[in-house]
């Protein structure tokens, strides 16, 4: 007789099609977090494994994508030591080049628009916690309250990070030589 735990009795509590549908966005968010294609896929895989482990904590009918982002954020924070994050900060203050670990390939072949590759390089220069908020708000179009839940920080913190991220982006854009308006 096979003895099965409750896990076996309640085998599937995550809607598989929704999970697959969320994959491209999870992958994109992972790239924004890690700045690296390969590490991003590892992060997605770890996130999915964690999601299945914790599948009972997901409330059926609630936004699966936001829940997965939450898990991904936590997995990422746990995987990257404080030291590495501080190192990333330090490199930003150097004011030159992309942030440490930011290796997102800029595919010039896909688009000849300089401003697209510029903006990719610029978000790499943002401190990770500001980058996260900016992407969740501007690209994933999550509501601020959702972002606050995903990151586990108060909404005031979300707003100040978003404001600072945009301020930096604005400065970088106006200061970027390639985007300078030449009169």
């Amino acid at each position: 007789m096979i003895r099965f735990t409750e896990d076996a009795v309640l085998p599937e509590t995550l809607p598989h099609p929704d999970l697959v549908a969320a994959l491209p966005r999870l992958r994109r968010y992972a790239r924004v977090l890690t700045g690296d294609m390969h590490r991003a896929d590892d992060l997605v895989q770890d996130t999915l494994a964690r999601a299945w482990e914790k599948r009972r904590l997901w409330q059926a009918g609630s936004d699966l994508r936001a829940w997965l982002f939450t898990i991904m954020h936590n997995v990422h924070v746990n995987q990257f030591s404080m030291r590495q994050r501080e190192y990333a900060h330090a490199s930003l203050d150097a004011e030159d080049g992309a942030a440490a670990g930011w290796e997102i390939a800029v595919r010039a072949t896909q688009s000849d628009r300089v401003e697209l590759s510029e903006v990719l390089a610029q978000i790499g220069r943002l401190p990770p916690e500001q980058r996260e908020v900016l992407i969740l708000a501007a690209v994933e179009e999550l509501r601020y309250e959702e972002i606050s839940a995903v990151l586990g920080v108060p909404i005031g913190t979300v707003m100040s990070r978003l404001s600072r991220a945009r301020e930096k982006l604005r400065r970088m854009t106006t200061e970027a030589p390639t985007l300078k308006v030449v009169r």
Partner: protein, 264 residues
């Protein structure tokens, strides 16, 4: 009401209520510096999406699809570590080749491994365009009742709709001394997989997922007490394992439900 910086962002991100948004719009009409800032935020949003949206169209690696199916999950099941270890060592079938049905029948009496029997049965019926099954899925209840009666124990046809595989139907197939049952499923790409069930005299203590390939057909099989189950198909191993887990879970749940109902 004065316009806060937070509200400026919320307005640019379309997160304000309709009433407040129209108030903000009125304010912006005579605050050109703020209006310029909103335009800039929106332009950056559009630029970011334009830069990052192409990533969404990239093909997904298999490992991620397998992970989404939960194939690296459920580590708390006691048997799972063993099962994974066994599944990781791919047992390759001996390349005997496809004999065809008549040869297979001639071999009656020759021991054919369970997984090979499952693969051969799958290959035979899955390729049959017109009559892959004896009873079609529209008579699922009758199918399950009939097969249960012929095999002399309660069978269950797993529901794989959530994985994109619909039940085609089932049929009675050759087992060893006793008959076996075959449930066939098909997805939108017309790929077919089948669950082969056979009951034998010898109870087995082990319940590990095992994997074999037989003439290109992948087979995940496991023995539950004296009942053997095999899931066969031309899918890759990760996909097949993901489906096998779902099948196993549903059968375990059904078994528990059967055990809970008093015997008639």
């Amino acid at each position: 009401m004065p316009l806060s910086d937070d509200e400026l962002h919320a307005y640019a991100d379309n997160q304000l209520s309709r009433e407040r948004a129209s108030e903000v719009a009125q304010t912006l009409a005579h605050e050109s510096a703020l209006a310029t800032r909103v335009d800039e935020i929106r332009r950056h949003n559009a630029l970011l999406r334009e830069a990052l949206d192409p990533w969404l169209d990239e093909p997904l690696p298999r490992e991620l699809l397998a992970a989404a199916a939960g194939s690296a999950a459920r580590p708390r099941l006691r048997w799972l570590p063993t099962a994974l270890a066994v599944a990781a060592s791919v047992v390759l079938g001996i390349g005997i080749g496809w004999f065809g049905r008549s040869e297979m029948l001639e071999l009656a009496g020759t021991p054919v491994t369970f997984q090979r029997q499952a693969a051969l049965t799958h290959a035979l019926y899955a390729a049959d365009a017109n009559r892959p099954v004896e009873i079609w899925a529209n008579e699922e209840e009758r199918l399950v009742r009939w097969l249960s009666k012929r095999l002399n124990f309660p069978l269950h046809a797993p529901n794989l709709n959530g994985l994109g595989f619909a039940l085609v139907g089932g049929r009675l197939v050759a087992g060893n001394e006793k008959p076996g049952a075959l449930f066939m499923y098909e997805n939108a790409d017309r790929q077919r997989i089948s669950l082969f069930v056979r009951k034998d005299g010898e109870p087995s203590r082990e319940t590990a997922f095992r994997y074999a390939t037989e003439d290109g057909v992948g087979v995940f099989y496991w023995i539950d007490e004296d009942c053997g189950y095999a899931l066969s198909g031309h899918l890759d191993r990760g996909q097949l394992l993901g489906i096998a887990r779902v099948v196993y879970g549903q059968l375990a749940a059904a078994e528990a439900a059967d055990a809970a109902t008093p015997k008639r």
